[in-house]
């Protein structure tokens, strides 16, 4: 019995050693580049931190108080919500509709063709897409959109220079660049619904809308919740197109929180203030994630 036990122990030690040796470097990277920065970032938000200044006094909640009196921050806060509230529902409706249509195409080859066409924008670097769109949206006669307006006998529009159209222009660009991922996930979700349900409903005389309302929507709830949350979280942090296409202009009409935080941290080197704004963004995203977990759980209990 002695040697047998010893053997098992050494097997256990071997496994433990493997776990420790493998996991330590990985966890160390997590610690240094994810865990520590979170707490450090929150800590910085209580300081008047400027890497170039000689001292960085602890000012507790002053940054948080100050930001709500700062019209530029308030503007960026409202713009972020405006962007998310328009772009996310538009994204969900469009992607769900296209996923439904593409998965209904009978020939597999055409289905692949459509999927590839919709997917191409998603693989391009956002910065390149933003540049392409800024040239299409040029306010002179040399941009694509104004060329088309001109052909139709309409006046030119300053797509990115007019406060009324700038945000909508960026939302259009975002939708173009970003709908592919959600289309694919929705298509997979639709694929997982047994065809039998639809055939049974058809026999019972349910029309297309009724089938969508009573079969597709309820069975797609989990997928939709997942897609919705991921899109909201990613749109709250959207940055490249705002920085490249408008730099937040005209008159801060497209200044979102992510861009404002970047400007404060790296252009004005107000890192404490920027960290406080980033902490607000963190809280918004955490609240959304918690709501998603809550809603997901209650649905599970049905």
């Amino acid at each position: 019995m002695g040697p047998w036990r010893g053997d098992r122990l050494s097997q256990h030690t071997k496994e433990l050693r493997f776990v420790i040796y493998s996991l330590t470097p990985i966890l160390l990277l997590f610690l240094v580049f994810l865990i520590i920065p979170i707490f450090w970032g929150i800590q910085l938000s209580f300081f008047q931190y400027d890497p170039l200044a000689s001292s960085s006094p602890l000012i507790w909640f002053d940054n948080y108080v100050r930001m709500w009196k700062d019209p530029i921050f308030v503007k960026s806060f409202l713009n972020t919500f405006k962007y998310v509230f328009i772009a996310v529902p538009a994204n969900i409706v469009i992607t769900l509709a296209f996923a439904g249509m593409i998965s209904r195409v009978r020939s597999a080859r055409w289905r692949n063709f459509f999927r590839t066409c919709f997917f191409l924008p998603a693989i391009a670097p956002l910065s390149a897409s933003a540049l392409i769109w800024s040239t299409m949206l040029r306010s002179g006669g040399d941009g694509l959109f104004n060329m088309l307006l001109d052909k139709m006998g309409q006046a030119k529009v300053g797509w990115l220079t007019d406060g009324n159209t700038a945000m909508i222009s960026i939302i259009l660009m975002t939708l173009w660049a970003d709908i592919a991922y959600n289309i694919i996930i929705f298509m997979a979700g639709l694929d997982a619904i047994p065809k039998l349900f639809y055939e049974a409903a058809e026999i019972d005389g349910a029309n297309a809308f009724q089938r969508f309302r009573h079969i597709t929507l309820p069975l797609l709830q989990r997928t939709t919740l997942f897609v919705f949350t991921m899109t909201v979280i990613s749109y709250f942090q959207m940055f490249p197109q705002f920085q490249i296409m408008t730099r937040g202009g005209p008159k801060n009409e497209t200044l979102v929180m992510a861009l404002n935080i970047y400007n404060n941290a790296f252009s004005y080197s107000r890192m404490g203030y920027a960290s406080a704004m980033a902490t607000v963004l963190l809280i918004i995203i955490l609240v959304i994630s918690l709501i998603q977990i809550r809603v997901g759980r209650t649905q599970w209990e049905y």
Binding site: S22, M101, P125, S129, L131, D142, L286
Partner: protein, 276 residues
């Protein structure tokens, strides 16, 4: 089996036509990019037509003359490849351990790792910049590589895939006297190859397209990666945007090739992620 009525047939063709039209609209910006890139430096300034009057490669020539384009391409290739190889490895290794080993604190560790996926870049970027600064890595490609060698999403994906493999595999390998690392490398990894290739493509694309982080840690033109360099280069040629469009075409080609080769794995991998 299914009796299709006339009206449903018409609806089908309408839908098909709509999809064709939408696909074309999705491709318009690319068409615009290619057509603009073929316009001359003089023509572009007052072009009011979609098609170039005279096709020239002036734009492309200027990119190679005025900009260290090959340098940028090389920087992108080196960083993205290094990140992809190491991240796939660390994700698979951690995923394997979280799926098949028992040790104290495992659940808590895994939840903490998953939770980091929810953290916005904006809260991380200032401290990360300060860490990179203290390590003396500003303007060094290592600043792009080192923080990206791990992926919470990758660990999650790997754990899901490896979890489904039977324990017998490991047991019989151990009976044969194989070491733990050998078992992982030679027995586990080959069995989850589809997951690994999907993860490799995701990681590569994310690394290749990354804009924010390079923008923060690189300011030397020679050190830039393509997406950042493109924007930087744009500053010098706002009016002659045929040059920027030529550069964009050149940036897009490698990603396009990778995507068209691995499209199947990519789409399959993406479908996997929808079902948590």
């Amino acid at each position: 089996m299914n009796i299709r009525t006339r009206s449903s047939q018409i609806w089908y063709f309408l839908m098909f036509g709509f999809l064709l039209l939408s696909s074309f609209i999705m491709l318009v910006p690319y068409l615009w990019m290619v057509l603009s890139s073929l316009k001359g430096n003089l023509e572009i300034i007052r072009s009011t037509d979609l098609l170039p009057h005279k096709v020239t490669f002036e734009g492309y020539k200027t990119v190679f003359q005025d900009a260290p384009f090959m340098h940028w391409l090389w920087n992108s290739i080196v960083t993205s490849t290094a990140i992809t190889i190491v991240t796939v490895f660390t994700s698979a290794l951690a995923g394997y351990i979280f799926a098949k080993f028992r040790f104290r604190g495992k659940q808590v560790l895994f939840i903490v790792i998953l939770a980091t996926m929810m953290i916005p870049t904006q809260i991380l970027m200032i401290p990360s910049y300060l860490i990179i600064f203290k390590l003396g890595l500003i303007n060094n490609l290592l600043a792009l590589i080192i923080p990206s060698l791990i992926s919470a999403f990758g660990i999650f994906l790997a754990r899901q895939a490896i979890d489904e493999l039977p324990y017998d595999l490991m047991e019989s390998a151990r009976m044969d006297g194989a070491g733990e690392f050998y078992t992982f490398l030679r027995i586990i990894l080959p069995l989850v190859r589809p997951m690994l290739s999907a993860l490799a493509i995701f990681t590569f694309m994310a690394a290749w397209n990354n804009y924010v982080w390079p923008l923060i840690v690189l300011n030397d033109t020679e050190k830039m990666t393509l997406p950042l360099a493109l924007v930087f280069f744009n500053g010098a040629h706002v009016r002659n945007f045929n040059i920027i469009m030529s550069a964009s075409v050149l940036v897009m080609i490698p990603v396009l090739v990778v995507f068209l080769i691995f499209q199947k794995q990519f789409i399959k991998g993406l479908s996997m992620t929808g079902f948590k």
